[in-house]
């Protein structure tokens, strides 16, 4: 079972064949979605009726391309706003929490660490309804006791952002902690000995070391926010993000326009994913 050990030839061959099958299985649904985005038919299905770009740029009476579809455009806008906020919040909170657990000892640390991991094992639907119930309790309380009506606490983009942040921040913390743990503390001590203040050390030595992992986890946070469905579904108001809009269309019976949107998503996320890999692999000078 190793390269160095001469195994049975057919066994190796089987292993390779299995891997080939597996890759085909991975690629098949995505390839199908991509190809049917170009089908000149009103349903994403066989028979093949020839190639068309209508589902991207069309503006006919029966066919609207994704670029001319106002609802899709608006929902992409909502998704982008939410994803940007979630990314910023997660990087910020993930970095400070990484410092909290890697650099400080305090009472109840392991208990709090376990608590920090909890959002990973709570299903998204439950995170969503918990935040929904709590914010509505708050909103109702404010309304009955102070006569305040706070729209932000009702389902909408702010709650969607908080819901996604609740578990994406855990992932950000784990990624940044892993990098912080590998940091050589003697670099900081050397800088301190040379007369730099703690803030200068943080700004010029420690944070630059963390930037690659912060960028990498930012990309992951952005992608996870963009594709999130179950938490979002529970907290969504009238402004639907892209996944919710697509889901509603899918239930009504889909047109190849959804394939076109999906293909655009694939290209965009592949690009972002590559950025994240490059960011993670870029070695800072200290290594």
């Amino acid at each position: 079972m190793l390269r160095t050990i001469p195994g049975k030839k057919w066994l190796r061959w089987m292993h390779k064949a299995y891997l080939g099958l597996f890759l085909a299985y991975l690629a098949l649904p995505l390839a199908v979605v991509a190809v049917f985005a170009f089908n000149d038919s009103t349903i994403p299905s066989l028979p093949w009726k020839g190639w068309t770009l209508d589902w991207f740029i069309g503006n006919g009476s029966t066919r609207t391309g994704m670029l001319r579809d106002g609802e899709i455009g608006a929902s992409i806008g909502h998704s982008l706003i939410v994803a940007a906020l979630v990314t910023l919040l997660s990087i910020g909170c993930g970095t400070t929490t990484a410092f909290l657990f890697e650099r400080h000892d305090f009472k109840g640390k392991s208990l709090l660490y376990l608590l920090m991991l909890m959002p990973l094992v709570i299903p998204g639907v439950i995170l969503g309804i918990a935040i929904l119930a709590f914010s509505s309790t708050l909103a109702n309380g404010l309304e009955t006791h102070f006569g305040l009506s706070v729209e932000a606490l009702r389902p909408g983009l702010l709650l969607v952002t908080l819901g996604q942040f609740s578990f994406i921040a855990t992932i950000a913390t784990l990624v940044i902690s892993a990098r912080l743990r590998k940091f050589d503390r003697s670099l900081e001590e050397a800088a301190l000995n040379l007369g730099a203040g703690p803030l200068t050390v943080l700004r010029t030595i420690t944070l630059p070391y963390l930037y690659p992992s912060m960028i990498g986890c930012g990309v992951v946070a952005f992608l996870m926010s963009f594709e999130n469905f179950s938490t979002t579904l529970m907290l969504v108001g009238s402004d639907a993000p892209l996944t919710i809009t697509m889901f509603n269309r899918m239930r009504q019976g889909s047109t190849p326009e959804l394939n076109a949107v999906s293909l655009a998503l694939m290209l965009a996320s592949a690009l972002l994913g590559l950025v994240s890999i490059l960011a993670q692999h870029k070695k800072p000078p200290s290594e």
Partner: protein
């Protein structure tokens, strides 16, 4: 989280200041978004009417066979899915971690990551195009003359499991790869030198070493499967209800938040029970396996 030295907290104003600076965002996140909402949800689940408190919602859950059956189905299918994913991804992870080298290793790893980046909705959408009555598979079989009329492959448990496997595979492969990469090749070689065959080496050397990765992969995949919503709705049949659907129905469709909250806690309890049993069986701990898996 390890043997970090507490230089900063050992005293000094700056040390304490920096401690509170990094503690505050964490506490805000935990209290306002995780702890208080769940406490509120728990209180809600004990609410019987506007004024009285009691177990009525939990009684309703245990009194109605449909709810119990849905939960049992959800748990059983999630366990089955987890085991299937472990079986399917083991050879792939082993190949990527131990056999592939250089560029082929990187590209294989990327190939596994790529579908994950695209999002669950698109992946499930792809499967519905393939499996539905007018879909590719049905047409292909008709074209080949294997079957006469169109066949509906979608909307049953098997289709749903295919979808779940596809969606969650990555969460098993990544921890498996990372744990197998730490396995020293010479241990495997020694196993063979001492006369072990492939099966014995696998069972006595490779699997024990990989156990933390197996545990973390299984926990994450099981929890994600249990909590999944899209795949069961879009690929499962009308008769194959998923427990998260029940929660959604109570909350959004029927606006019965009290019963929905009780359902939420029943799901949390059931999942914790299964994960706890799994950890006991494999001899792992939650924090080590979760921190390792990511």
């Amino acid at each position: 989280m390890s043997a970090s030295t507490s230089v900063d907290t050992s005293g000094g104003l700056a040390g304490r200041l920096s401690f509170y600076l990094v503690l505050t965002p964490f506490l805000l996140w935990m209290l306002l978004i995780i702890v208080l909402p769940h406490v509120d949800l728990l209180l809600l689940s004990f609410k019987e009417s506007a004024t009285s408190v009691g177990l009525a919602n939990y009684r309703e859950f245990f009194g109605e066979p449909v709810y119990l059956r849905t939960l049992a189905r959800t748990v059983v299918i999630s366990i089955l899915t987890t085991l299937l994913i472990l079986l399917i991804s083991w050879p792939v992870a082993y190949y990527i971690a131990k056999l592939a080298r250089g560029r082929s290793k990187t590209s294989l790893y990327l190939a596994c990551l790529l579908p994950f980046w695209v999002g669950e909705l698109v992946r499930v959408f792809g499967w519905t195009i393939i499996l539905r009555e007018t879909g590719l598979l049905s047409r292909l079989l008709q074209h080949l003359g294997v079957v006469q009329g169109p066949i509906e492959f979608l909307y049953n448990d098997a289709a749903m499991i295919v979808g779940l496997i596809y969606t969650l595979m990555l969460f098993m492969i990544v921890p498996l790869i990372s744990v197998l990469e730490t396995l020293d090749d010479s241990l495997v070689e020694a196993g063979y030198d001492l006369g072990g065959n492939g099966w014995i080496v696998l069972r006595q050397i490779v699997i024990p070493h990989a156990m933390p990765g197996i545990a973390s992969g299984c926990i994450i995949v099981f929890m994600l499967s249990l909590g999944s919503f899209l795949t069961p709705i879009l690929m499962g049949g009308k008769s194959s209800q998923w427990f998260t659907e029940q929660i959604y129905t109570q909350f959004i469709t029927r606006f019965n938040w009290e019963l929905g909250s009780a359902f939420g806690f029943v799901l949390l309890a059931a999942s914790s029970l299964v994960v706890w049993a799994g950890l006991k069986l494999s001899g792992q701990s939650l924090s080590s396996s979760l921190a390792r898996g990511s």
